[in-house]
Structure formats: structure tokens, C-alpha cells
Symmetry: D2
Subunit: 364 residues, 4 copies
């Protein structure tokens, strides 16, 4: 129910604003006995951290996570884990313009309309900084998954930046470029493209794909807890995301039944599929194939071009957003998407174990 | 939490299988005092009902809804509304093949793997028949919305069938053709196309758009109850849906910040936007513009072409699905999408009223 | 969240009014593979059924349950189980007085005040008939428990009726008298006492105790899902219940630390306790001892003595409730309390399995 | 669902252990525009703070609350409010005995059995320190209530300590003695009694009553969100509480229908009741009378008398708990009970507004 929480049994509540004293995540329902240190979580926060290269915002945040509860002698206790990240870069500046004017394409106007008050500093609660809390929670989920399904591997990467797409999945390349793109050629092209955008003060959208390999079959539950549903909700809840798809996704609209049906045959370790249009999920339940999710991130509204807008008092005016910003926020959305995938999968592992136990239907 | 429920305050739980005695929806949290009769709900069920033309399954279901509780003297009482639809067409037939073999692209194999038991008759719980219960619940939501926001209008239509797309939004055309497509020319082309598919025993996917006009600003709540999130979860939870997008959606990945930002100016009744890439939702909260959602439905796996598959005992075999089926299940997904939109919007109206009341930030 | 639902993983939603067409329970989250027939559930409904002896209302209800979904070939499928009980005794009568006047001590006035509408026939949703749905759901829970913890036994009984209390726990006596009291002497005394009350058109309250024997240790979770919390909520949610206690309960206020502490020693099969002031629950988690809950049921407000009240239009008047009624509704609350205990315990078994699995801390 | 959360719309999640770095509460769903400062919350924490007199534990905790999010320029924003209290008194000491032995009557053994790990320092998550977080959350609820129902007043007090009861409700006395007892004579007697207990290293239970005056009629919702249910769950979830009752409570078992029925007449401002056996709640919905809840707190298990117990390795042994402790933890439970009442009432105000709005049935 809670508006800032997600998950059924592994339940994450995030809190905090961009320029408040701190932000974080309250993680409830984690299994006990999971080895956990701040360092294990920090790895993922560092991956998301802004200011790492010229393509992400130059805001400098240490993004250092502290575990305030739920861990004793290096191991989770099964009680709530509080993860806190203090905001170190709260530099005082003149927000006057943003306080009075609404940025087109930004949550400014809707927060104001809904609440009658908003923390305009850096976007407040609507800031992408909220996603740091998700990444921290995802770090916990990853450690718990390690215990339950050691082979499971979650990998996120960019597959589109503006009009530049790639169909390559050269996974070894992902860590070799600042865009987490699994395609060395694309990385080179994108670098030039984004450099141009950055210099002109523009921004661009992106598409991210997240894949979970070696996930067990049987995760997910009809009808409103379909694994597709929870994954799409998880991704859509990320700042700036406007579309989500599983497997063939929106392209499924184009396919015939013959093309779409992933044929099944018996392999040495169970069913083997001829293709994966289903994105690893049939009827809301995982098949054991790769779980494949993609989501689209819109371009940031903070750009150097003047746009028409209005003020709080209802006057027509113009706005231009100066200062540090990300030309492509999609870059930093990669570890966020991975974190959401980890949280959803762990949650469904626990749900499955709760309702079903370890007994499942066998084939063969 | 409940796996077969959705909604926060207006909460719908659906139940029932394709070939069981009945199916339905338990609707909790409806405001009291809403005029409601079975006839008001029946209108929408009739729109979804199969067997209405040659393009939908020839299974004959009366789909007659009964209100078993929550209504007294023609008005909702604020207590749970039970909507029941009896299954009249449970014709006895030989399901032997389906009971033993898994249809590629169908939930057969995952239900079996997860639960170790499944009602294989007509797909059981994974059947599209479950959506009748959603449509019934949506009928209730529509009547409640009428009381709270009389101008609000929800309209669904098809915008793509296979490779045939349309960009037209000629709303008067929607009711004039069996595809609910807002484009007379497309309707003609699609008729031929689908006729061919039907005759060859094939099937095809589709894309549906649902628009809510005159929805109030301020609906939705950060971060995990973003209106985008709840809408995408609602649509993705529908049988066979594999992708969801809001406004520019997946295309947002292509856009620059300049193109994406919907500029704002002051109109006589409040803010006016130059465009609607946001699909009526910024920062998870409605702007007052049209709320625009699209979702992709995959083609049904019931086709006349032989496909490779396996049996429960793990042997390789082939399958062909004979009998009545929908060449394009997307057609019947239109009223289902409308119903989900109605439920989500009403739910967020109640949530908004609960947390905020009627006081909101004013502009001007 | 849902106002008519309870449970985390094993989630029950009840619906229906006293004099509507039907009432029932939607049961979600039941493990698959549980053998279940309507007859298994009917046993418990028959125990609760009114009109069985002169001490309960003479209203004649068949209370026959139908399973509309979630069971296939005699076994639960893991999908929602719909249990429906049709109301057969909807005899037409003149409700005029009750429609206009509020019965003191009854929900009449608050339903009207809250909703502005109420189904006054037989109390509508506030009727004790709602508890039939709980008993049906409890029947499902009992069968699932049988599979998971075959030795677990749930027994309810009355320990107080008006000023007549008993401290005896002669369990063999429970089924031997119409009050489910574990004390043959008390049964005789109570029979005379209640006969007098019945003849004078009066009513009286009662105290019920429910015990779960052989429940596994480790059920329950701090802080807001303490087993005490969920049990007390479950019991307090029953019609007419105004107090709940676990173990020593309200008497704990009187005890010293020395008296209250149940000493522990090591027995052949694990820890053994010298007493059970804790009612089988420490820190919200079951110890493995008997789980002991008591709840107080207030007397029904339907009595033959004239009471002062007001009308809907605000005029002072008097009321007297004629017709069939229960002199002690507590009698029929016994199977209801058992059902709630079964639901809560099964729910926590699933929750425990979900978060922890089968690994627990060992002693010795 | 979350095990450490409560509330529907006003939702509180507490976190933290007795001897970890910090503890706190994440408060979601608070209405925007509520004036809020740390000082407003601190008032209530100071009331609960240990070490204030010789009757409460001498552990010294500053219990200073910080607001980390959700408040901007002194006013709530409608986004999550994070309240953090750092643990200042984490003095290093030898916990060896407690780490290996289980205290009878304490959560030690069940936490170990359930989780296979526990933070034994000061009870970890099962410590009464968790209630500080509730008091902080209650402080937020009180400020929101002030805005919505300015006359509403919540007052908690002790009515029993061990065998000493009082029936007096001399509200002016409550703040005049260390026991919050509304009876000057009782205060004197109790002081002597507790002094004796303290010196002998014993402890005793207590009964607390919490009253909400001037609460609006219409709060609460059948069937599982009865106001009684949510209040009893809220109180029962408090550390050491074993019994809860509303109005006549457990005594309702003794009453006849004539005695129990609060007669109604029409007063100048609406219905007036001759008595309040219902504790202000009929059919789960508030009547507008005082809402009256009582709960029993068991004595702390930390006593100076030797008790029999076992070790983790399963050996019989004895234990004696040295060091600071509360002879009557019930004293500090008073502000905790008030806080829970505030949270539940605010939550139901929001729920009522959400489902019903401001329209209600009128009388007269």
C-alpha cells in the first residue's frame, strides 16, 4: 500500500530528497544469515555514482552507504535493514528561478499541483538521487540471491541512445565503456554523439536492457503478481522511465503465432527452448530461460535551450536550466535497473518458497 | 500482497477458471452511494464478449454478471461488491492432448512447473476468460468515476495489428468496426488481413491504446505509486501483454530533451501544454492532459500449425491446437484495457482524496 | 490494505450481507496440492450453523458451501478459491422499524453515519452471518495445515458465559454439550441459566478460548507481524468481540517478573517450559508450547426489553427487537475463533517458510 | 504486508536495534502542509525517555530525534518522513551470559529458534527501545491530526500496577506523578510499592488506558479494518503487551444485553449516549463518543531472582539478570500507547476521507 515501498515479502521503502540531509532505504523481509557489509553494497553505488566521467553530472557525491540496523556480526538478522546515504554536496545556491518557474517535462508542476508544497532544490523527492537508495537495496538483494541461487547472474546494459541502437550482445564489452553498451563499435560512435550533445547543452533518451541468467523456473504468480507485472512496475517506477517490455515486448504486436511461439524440446537438464520471445516468462511465471526486460528512459528536462513555461503565479515566461546535468541519464539507469531486477527476483523467490515450498511439478 | 488483487483503496480481487462453475471479481473499497445495477456492468461485458463476429472465438458465453453483495436498493453501500459470471459453455470434450503436452508460448508448462497441478481445461486460470472479471470490476469503477469526475472519459482502441499500424485517431470510427480502430481505412485493410489469418489458422499480435480525457491533475504519488507504475502494472497484468508505454513511451529513448519537453503556457482554465510526450503524467502525477497508455498483446499460441514441444513425461513430440480460437486476441483486449484504466484512475482519485483532501497547490 | 481482507500470504477476503443473495470468501495464496472438497469445509459450517438447538437463533440456514474455483480434480491448484454460501432464508418481513430506528449497541447508527446508506435487513454486512465465510475459509486453512503440520490441533471452547466461569479444561467434554464448554458441571449450570435468559428475551456475553497444540516453534515475526498481533487482530475483527488476550493476558498486569517467567529446561525433544504465561508466544514468535488465545464477545443487542433510542430523523423514541435471536452469540463464536486461529497459523507458516525456509537455529 | 510496518494510508515502518548505531521510523502517507519540527516530536520522546526517575531504567539515552526527509521549510511535503534517533549509550560490556543463555519470559529463545542468529545486546530488535520510533511517528500523527480535527485529544494513563488498580479518572493528576496515574492516592501507594519491588530486583506488570476525546464519528471500516481491530493490533504489537480491550472489553463477557446497550437520545449536537460500554466503537466504526482502549503489559523478564533456563547448546542452567532495568515497563508504555492511538486514528481519518470524502449520513 505504502506509496514509497515495493515488494511483497522482500519489501523496500525508500526515503529522502536530493538536497536533504540524507536519503536511504528501509529493507524489510531479508532472509537471516546473509553475509552483508557496507562494502558489498558500496560496489553497486560506486557503479551508479555521478561524476565518474564527462558523460554524467559533475555533481560530486560520495554516496557512501551506512548500515544502521539489521546486521549483526557481519550477517543479516532477518530484521529491517536501514541503509543511509548522507548528502554531502548540498552546496548553497540560488534556486530562485526553479522555485518560481516550472521546468517543462519535469515533475515541478505536478508536485506543486498535488501537494501545494515542494522541495524544489534539485528536484526534491523527484530527483534521480532517489535511485541511489534502490541501488543500495539491490545490493542487499544480490547477496541474498547468492545464498539461494548462486548461479543467478543479473546484467544490465544500454542498447539504445537516441537514434543509435545496437543489436549486439557482446557482454564482455559492457564494462569497457562509459555507456555499459555491449558493442565496442557502438561505444565509439556513442561517445562522439554524446560529446556533441553535452557541449550543446542538450540531452537524449536511452533504452536499457536487464537480463537475469540462470533464474529458477517457477517464479511469479498469476494474475496480478505475474513476474512481468512486478518487473514492469519496478522498472516503470524508476525516475524518467516511460516504457517497459519483456522479451519481444512491443514487437509482439507484429508477430504471428507461429513466429512468437518458442518451441520446446527436451534437453539433458530439462526443457530447452528454440527462442525466447517470451523473455523467460510464460503466463507470468519464469520458464528457466533468461529473463529479459527493457525500459526506455526519457531525456532529462534540464537543458540549455530556452523553453516556454509558466510561473507559480500563472504568468507565461521562459526557462533555461544552467549548471551541472546529465546529457544522458540513461547511463546511470543501468545499475538501477539491475537493482530493481535483483529485488523483484529475490522477492518472488521468497514468495514461491512461501506458497509452494520446494516441491514443484517435474517434467520427465 | 494478495496475488490475485490489485489497487490500493479501490481493490479488486479476481477469481475463477475458464471451465470452472463460475468466475468473478470481489471489489472492495468502492465509495458508497454510487448507483449500480447489473445492467450498467453488462454493457461493458457485452463489448468484450466472444463470438460477436467472425474475428473472435466462436465459444458462446452468455457472460451474464450477477451482483451478489455490496449493493442495496440500487446503490453501493461501501461494503464489498461480489460480481459473479457463471460459465455456461463447459462443453465436455477430450482434453487429453493438452493435458499431457505443453503448448509452446502458453502458460501450460510454467503452471505445471510451479504448482505441480493445473486445470488444463481451456487454460484454467491463465485463460483470457479471467479478463471478464476485470471488465466487470471496471464497470463499477466507471460508475464511481461518474460521480466524482463526470467529465472524465475513457476510450480504448487498437492502433496496430501485426505489421499494420495507424496513426489516425478518428474517435468516431472506433465503434464502427470490429477492431475498435479509429481509422476507417485501416478497418478495411485489417478485415482482409485478419480474414486471411483466420482461414489459415494463424494468429497475430496487436497494440492497444487507452486514453483518459479530462482526468484531474494531481493523481498519482511518488515513488512506487507513480500513476505510470500502477497503469503499467495494471496493463501488464492482463493476459498476453508483453509491453506497456506511457505517452512517448519506448520512443522516448530516441528523443532529445528539446523534443521531449512539453512546453507550458497559461490558458484560461490553467496550464496548457504544447504537446503530450509525457502521456499526461509527470513525475508520476497527472498533469490534467490526456492520460495515454499503450500496450502490446502477443498472438495467441493456439494455432493450426504444428509446433515442436514436449510431454509431461519429458518426451519430444508435436502439437497442433484445433478448435475455436481468436486470430487476434488484441480485439477483446480493448475493453479490458479500458477497465484497467478505470480501476487505476478511481483508485488514485480515492488515494489522493485520502492523503490530500481537496486542497491542492494553485497556479495563478 | 483491503478493508475486507486479512492475512499476508494466505489471504482471505469475505463478502456478502445477511439478506443478500449470497455471501462467501475469496481465499488467495493457498498452497497447491491440498486435497479439498466442499464436504471437508461443510463439517465446520455445520458446527457453526444456527438453529441447532434452542440456544441459538431459530433462523434456518442451510449454510451450504460451494467451491467455485481454485480446486481441480479434488486438489487445490494454488489459484484463488472462491467459497460461496447462498442465503436461503431471505423471508420477506417488515423491517420498517429497524430501517428507521437505531438499535442501541448495534452497528446500525455507525453504518448510517459513515456511509449514508445501509442494508438494514438483518444487519447487512455487520451481521454475524459474515462469520460463516470465515469458518469456510478456516476449513481450507485446516486442510493445508494438515499437509504441513499433521499433528497440529486447534480447539475452541467457551470458558465464561455471563458471570459463570470455569477453569476446567476437560477437553473430552467439549463436544458433549451445546456450549462447547470443557466442564460437564458448568454445562448443566449454564443450560439452566441460558434457558432463563432465553425465555426472558435477554442476552449475555461470553468468553471463548482457542488453543493450538503442536504448533511449530518460530512462527510470527517482529514487530507488527507478531503472532500475538495477528491473532488479536483476527479475533477482534470478529463481530461483537471487544477484548483479546494471549496466555496470561490481562492478568499479566498483576504478575511479578518471577511469577510471569516461564522457566526453561531441556527435555528429550527440545526446550520444556514450567508454565505457559506467555501463551506460547515470546517476542511475537511461537515457542512450540500451546498457543492460547481468549476473546470476549459482548451480548447481542437484540433483546425483548425496551431501550431508548433515536430515529434517522433525530427523534427520541424506543425500540424493542422481536423475532428470532441468539441469547448468547458466544456459542456460535467458538468455531469462528477456531477458523481465525487456523488462518493465522497457516499464514505464518507460509510467511516463515518464505523468509527463512526450513533452516532455523538449533538448540543443543 | 511488511513485517515492520503498520497503517493503511498513514504507514509507519520502524527499524533499528537496541545497541545498533541508530533506530527510527519511516513515515509514509502523511498529508502535506503539516507544520513539523524535530522539537514538536521531541516533546513526546522526552515523555518516554528512560532514566527520568528512579522507577525507570537508568540507561541514559538522549533519544534525540532528527528529521532526515519529508519536511521542507518547516512543513511536511507529503513524501516519506525519516525520523532517526541515534543510540548514544552503547557502552561496551560483557554480554557473554546473555549471548549463551536464554532469559525465561524473553524473546531470546524464539529469535534464536526462528532466525538462527540474534543481536543479543540489550535484546536487539525485541528491545523496548523500538518503541521510541513509534513515539516519534506518533508525534507526526498528532500534528497532522491537529490540522484535521483540532479538538481531538489523546491521553494515556496507568490504571493498574500489579494488584493495585484504580477506577478514578482524575485527569489533572496524570502529569503530577511518575506513573501517569489519574489518582493522587494511588500515586502515593504505588510509589511505595514500586520502590519495594525495585529494591528487591523484582518487576511487575501494568494496565494502561488510552482515551481519544472528540474523535469524529465514522472512523473505521468493516470487517477487517474495524477500528477495534486496528487499535488492538496496534497495541498488541507493542513490546510486552499480552491483552487488549475496547470499552467494556473482557468484562463484556459478563454483561447482559440490557446492561451492555448504550442507550441513545438526541442532544443539541447529535446523538448522546447514556453510557460507553462500546468504548466509542460500534460495528467497528466510531460513534463520536470517547474511544477507550486498555492494554496489559507483562512484567519485564530482567529480574534479580535466579531462574532456571537452558543454554544454546541445550544444557540446563540458571540465569540472573544484573544491571539497569525497569521495575515496571508499563510506565514507559503510556506515551507509546498514545502514539499508537494517534497513528491509528489519523490513518482512519485518511481512509475515511479516501473512500467516503466528507459526505456522510446525517441524523435529524
Amino acid at each position: 500500500m505504502s506509496m514509497n515501498s515495493f515488494g511483497h515479502l522482500f519489501r523496500v521503502t525508500t526515503w529522502g530528497e536530493s538536497h536533504g540531509p540524507a536519503l536511504g532505504a528501509t529493507v524489510d523481509g531479508c532472509p537471516p544469515g546473509v553475509p552483508l557489509t557496507a562494502e558489498m553494497i558500496q560496489v553497486w553505488l560506486d557503479k551508479r555514482k555521478p561524476g565518474q566521467n564527462k558523460y554524467t553530472t559533475q555533481r560530486r557525491e560520495a554516496d557512501e552507504v551506512r548500515i544502521l540496523s539489521g546486521v549483526f556480526e557481519g550477517v543479516t538478522t532477518g530484521t529491517p535493514i536501514q541503509l543511509m546515504i548522507e548528502n554531502t554536496d548540498q552546496r548553497s545556491k540560488d534556486y530562485g528561478d526553479i522555485a518560481e518557474k516550472f521546468r517543462p517535462g519535469h515533475a515541478d508542476i505536478t508536485y506543486w499541483t498535488k501537494y501545494g508544497i515542494r522541495d524544489y532544490r534539485g528536484g526534491g523527492r523527484s530527483s534521480a538521487r532517489e535511485t541511489a537508495a534502490r541501488v543500495a537495496a539491490g545490493g542487499v538483494a544480490r547477496e541474498a540471491i547468492k545464498m539461494l541461487a548462486p548461479d543467478l547472474k543479473i546484467t544490465g546494459f544500454m542498447v539504445q541512445m537516441g537514434e543509435h541502437k545496437t543489436d549486439k550482445r557482446d557482454m564482455d564489452q559492457i564494462d569497457q565503456n562509459p555507456f555499459w553498451v555491449p558493442d565496442a563499435d557502438a561505444a565509439a560512435t556513442w561517445a562522439d554523439y554524446l560529446d556533441g550533445l553535452r557541449k550543446s547543452g542538450s540531452s537524449v533518451g536511452a533504452m536499457i536492457e536487464v537480463v537475469a541468467q540462470h533464474a529458477p523456473a517457477g517464479l511469479g504468480a498469476p494474475v496480478y503478481a505475474k513476474l512481468d507485472t512486478d518487473l514492469s512496475a519496478a522498472m516503470m517506477s524508476i525516475n524518467a522511465v516511460k516504457g517497459v517490455e519483456i522479451g519481444a515486448g512491443m514487437q509482439a504486436a507484429m508477430l504471428t503465432g507461429e513466429a512468437n511461439a518458442d518451441e520446446i524440446s527436451m534437453g539433458p537438464d530439462g526443457p530447452v527452448y528454440s527462442s525466447n520471445h517470451a523473455g523467460g516468462i510464460l503466463g507470468g511465471i519464469s520458464t528457466g530461460q533468461d529473463i529479459v526486460v527493457r525500459f526506455a528512459v526519457k531525456p532529462t528536462s534540464s537543458i540549455l535551450t530556452t523553453r516556454k513555461t509558466i510561473t507559480k503565479s500563472g504568468e507565461n515566461t521562459e526557462i533555461i536550466t544552467k549548471g551541472r546535468h546529465d546529457p544522458c541519464v540513461g547511463i546511470r539507469a543501468v545499475p538501477v535497473g539491475e537493482a530493481m531486477m535483483a529485488c523483484v527476483i529475490l522477492d518472488h523467490m521468497l514468495l514461491h518458497r512461501g506458497q509452494i515450498g520446494s516441491n514443484q511439478g517435474k517434467i520427465g
